[in-house]
Symmetry: C2
Subunit: 216 residues, 2 copies
């Protein structure tokens, strides 16, 4: 945020003495109330300090990060998602791996007709089975996928931050981006995208470089 020395001093004063009025701050700094106005406005804008009528200025404990939070919370999954890579549930484990390599993705989504999510298969899942010595040609992908309803999903309008938290908390590499749909009377998920750790890392780089304005 780059506060000036005087702003830092005022912030510290509000932190230790608040609630404190503008007049009291001016008096302690030996300046006029008018001279303080820009400094106080900046501290209030930064979120670090807040003001209440007839009470005065008080410290919120927030800092410039609050603004980051506000900016980031507006970015939705649909702003950064990738296209989904899918195989049908009749595919062999071997062909699912071939798809992974061709598309260079860490996991593929297994779908029923209509793009309905049935499961997720990751490199890790396949590697585990391959280590066990099974013949991947003869094994249907169904056998080794993580099936519904065990799959953690996200939706296009979910904030990226919430989705990223799901990725971290559930220790997965990606989430299917889905829409809730009605299929023969049952509630199902239609796969419309893929949110990966790469999408998150790329967004981090863009935001950190001051780009990413198109999402904000």
């Amino acid at each position: 945020m780059g506060l000036t020395a005087r702003q830092e001093k005022i912030a510290e004063m509000v932190r230790t003495l608040g609630p404190i009025t503008g007049e009291q701050i001016a008096e302690r700094l030996n300046v006029t109330r008018a001279a303080l106005r820009p400094d106080l406005a900046i501290l209030v804008m930064s979120g670090m300090v807040d003001a209440r009528p007839k009470v005065g200025y008080f410290y919120t404990g927030k800092n410039a990060l609050s603004m980051v939070t506000e900016q980031v919370s507006r970015i939705k999954v649909q702003d950064i998602q990738s296209v989904p890579v899918v195989v049908t549930s009749g595919t062999s484990a071997y062909d699912a791996v071939v798809t992974m390599f061709l598309e260079d993705v860490g996991s593929v989504f297994v779908v029923e007709p209509g793009g309905i999510l049935a499961g997720v298969v990751s490199r890790k899942d396949v590697l585990k089975v391959a280590m066990g010595g099974s013949d991947l040609h003869k094994m249907p992908v169904k056998v080794l996928m993580t099936p519904m309803p065990k799959i953690v999903v996200t939706s296009p309008d979910e904030p990226v931050l919430t989705a990223a938290k799901k990725i971290i908390d559930n220790e997965v590499d990606s989430l299917p981006v889905v829409l809730l749909a009605n299929h023969q009377g049952a509630k199902v998920y239609e796969v419309v995208g893929r949110l990966t750790k790469t999408n998150i890392a790329r967004l981090f780089v863009e935001l950190g470089e001051g780009r990413g304005g198109e999402q904000l």
Copy 2:
């Protein structure tokens, strides 16, 4: 950043008419110069507008994201790195995979005595070989690893942003965190950590939630 309607108006005025003096802005808005002072101070603090003596206010094109950039650029790799998972170069491919599963990591680093980086093996590398039908028990990890000097590395004091960009640009899941060392007269890399997309995603979540202050 949450600018007020008047601040937005001033910013737009500076963008289209700048450089423009405070007096000129005041005149156009039909307010006193003093009344404008807090608004102009906030716009300058935000980095969106800058002022030069005897010239006036001009538009920088920056926005609140510039502040994010400044905050994020201070975070170093060592602030968020994980411990490295290593195997020695004599290990079989099979045992390297077992280590991957035991430690639940997507890649392991292959080291020579003294923790000197020799290569990196990922799930993808192993899966490719396993698909080919090779016996992983008989294959040394050396055969399938990405060897030095083809490995992209980072160091503890590199900004996370630079390291994250390396991960994205080189399409890898992790980077060995290394120190440059002298080994029998040759310059080598000593492995001291591991930076993954998970580390980046976790940092993103922490920053987005307004935490992560300990790194800033």
